[in-house]
């Protein structure tokens, strides 16, 4: 990967990072993340894991669900490397990665891979969950190479 010329204001985040605004379906996920726990919604009717969370199971129509603590093990499914222009909140990170990982539980999640040079990310790379504290009471799931 070639290095791009960086604009003068690169390296400085000029806005706060966007944080999740939980809703009724997602609140337990984000509350757990704040405790550095990764939960996945699971249908109480048919046992299917699902993400993002929602009120109803598209497979068996049950409104009942549980929250299961995920193994935290996943594999990289795809990734991008963002270059300018990006949101001011991410200006201090360019070029930065965003990954989609596939959890052992079968669901996919979007996140960031920590402490890995962007040219060393590969398909199927094994990762484990970690958490980034971004604000008081708010943490985001993130991923690290095994």
């Amino acid at each position: 990967m070639s290095e791009q010329p960086r604009p003068k204001d690169a390296g400085r985040a000029t806005a706060p990072r966007p944080i999740p605004d939980p809703d009724a379906a997602s609140a337990p996920f984000w509350e757990a993340a704040a405790r550095h726990e990764l939960l996945v919604q699971r249908c109480a009717g048919c046992g299917e894991f699902r993400h993002p969370p929602r009120p109803m199971c598209p497979r068996c129509s049950s409104f009942e669900h549980t929250w299961e603590r995920a193994s935290g093990r996943a594999r990289v499914w795809s990734w991008v490397v963002a270059h300018n222009p990006v949101l001011p909140a991410f200006a201090d990170r360019v070029p930065y990665n965003v990954v989609v990982v596939e959890l052992d539980e079968g669901v996919r999640m979007i996140g960031n891979l920590l402490d890995v040079p962007v040219d060393q990310i590969s398909d199927g790379m094994k990762v484990v969950v970690d958490f980034e504290d971004v604000e008081d009471g708010v943490a985001l799931p993130a991923w690290r190479c095994v």
């Binding site: 990967m1 791009q4 806005a15 706060p16 990072r17 966007p18 944080i19 999740p20 605004d21 939980p22 809703d23 997602s26 984000w30 993400h51 993002p52 598209p58 499914w77 795809s78 990734w79 991008v80 490397v81 963002a82 270059h83 222009p85 990006v86 949101l87 909140a89 991410f90 990170r93 070029p95 930065y96 965003v98 989609v100 669901v107 996919r108 999640m109 979007i110 996140g111 960031n112 962007v118 398909d123 971004v134 985001l140």
Partner: protein, 381 residues
């Protein structure tokens, strides 16, 4: 509704980075131009269909143009996925007798009006909570994620994406209305362009544009008495699959099984023809990978073979499927794909700047990163 309604008039403003006039004004200009082109009076318009993201309301169209009695109005959601659906709704209204003359328009100052993704606040709610906090903030990032996966699964390459960009740029050289008219591009130019969201470069991205376009839809019978050759609405379909969000669609069993794959099944059934009978395609190209995915979705290429199909030159004039013959979103203008619909009608009428010889049947598709829609237009023979 097969062949019961037709596009009988088209109109547009110029395209510009900063057009200098408000969206409502350019909407009225484009609709006036489309009505003039059709020979139908504004007082005869009794239906309007718009994109949900359109900022101008029906009442403001009606009270400026003097529309007397609107009896049908509707809008279609999902940004760039809406265009063909809006024309489809207009055709359904005509075919069912709910309205006689329906106008569909899109006016958008996306060039001068700023980037919608840059206006998100600090709180990410709804679907955004799953991607915005991680910096997957721009449409290009969301499509780049699928592009990478397409490369992983099928071996698609930057050169194949470049073939898409270069073909449409070539078409724009014949189109004085295109923003990239007079600015030819080689594959080397494409490969030298800077990264925006790897694996996508600057020239994988469409043009930030101000502009407005409109079409007039009425019955096939009435069309035969009007001044322009009709582009019959042979078939239309909307589509999206299970588990989709809006654009960050990585949660389905197979995210490369796009909304367009779903729309395609219904499109060909409704139209009663298949991809083999399409003389020219106008496919939504906000980003080059959408063309590879749509070629596969609509059956022009086998799964995974959209890249080789493009690289073999099939999208160019004289190729197997001349595509985005006005330059598309990548090289003419990006107005949520409305320009693709007008170019589809021009190919049927026979007055495209890149006219495909003997063109009788055209497919047009809308944004395939989001819940989508598609049209088959046909010559009245």
């Amino acid at each position: 509704m097969r062949d019961r309604a037709a596009i009988v008039g088209i109109g547009q403003t110029e395209f510009a980075k900063d057009i200098g006039r408000p969206e409502q004004r350019i909407a009225l200009e484009a609709i006036s131009a489309a009505l003039d082109d059709s020979g139908v009076g504004a007082h005869e318009v009794d239906g309007l269909v718009k994109f949900s993201l359109e900022n101008t309301m029906e009442v403001d169209i009606a009270r400026n143009l003097g529309m007397q009695n609107l009896r049908f109005f509707a809008d279609v959601a999902y940004g760039g996925g809406a265009g063909c659906g809006a024309v489809g709704h207009a055709a359904m209204a005509v075919a069912s007798g709910q309205a006689e003359v329906v106008v569909v328009w899109r006016a958008r100052n996306r060039g001068s009006g700023g980037r919608p993704w840059a206006k998100k606040g600090n709180r990410a709610g709804g679907e955004m909570q799953w991607f915005l906090p991680f910096g997957l903030s721009r449409p290009v990032d969301q499509i780049a994620m699928l592009a990478r996966r397409h490369m992983i699964e099928y071996g698609s390459t930057s050169e194949q994406l470049g073939a898409v960009a270069v073909a449409f740029r070539e078409h724009a050289q014949q189109n004085p209305a295109a923003l990239m008219h007079g600015r030819p591009m080689t594959l080397e130019d494409y490969l030298a362009s800077r990264w925006i969201s790897e694996p996508l470069r600057l020239f994988d991205c469409c043009l930030e544009t101000d502009g407005a376009l409109a079409v007039v839809v009425t019955s096939a019978e009435r069309a035969r008495d009007l001044r322009r050759p009709a582009a019959l609405v042979r078939g239309y379909a909307q589509g999206t699959g299970s588990e989709h969000l809006v654009m960050a669609n990585y949660f389905t069993r197979d995210p490369l099984d796009s909304p367009g794959h779903h729309a395609a099944r219904d499109l060909w059934r409704n139209a009663g023809i298949g991809p083999d009978e399409i003389d020219s395609a106008q496919m939504y190209d906000a980003f080059t990978p959408l063309i590879l995915i749509s070629l596969e979705a609509f059956g022009f290429a086998k799964p995974g073979e959209g890249g080789p199909f493009a690289a073999e030159g099939n999208l160019r004039l004289g190729g197997a499927l001349p595509t985005n013959t006005s330059g598309g979103g990548l090289s003419e203008a990006y107005v949520h794909g409305m320009n693709l619909i007008l170019e589809g009608a021009r190919q049927i009428r026979g007055d495209s700047v890149n006219q495909v010889a003997g063109c009788e049947t055209v497919m047009v598709s809308s944004g395939n990163g989001v819940p989508t829609s598609a049209l088959v237009l046909r010559k009245d023979t």
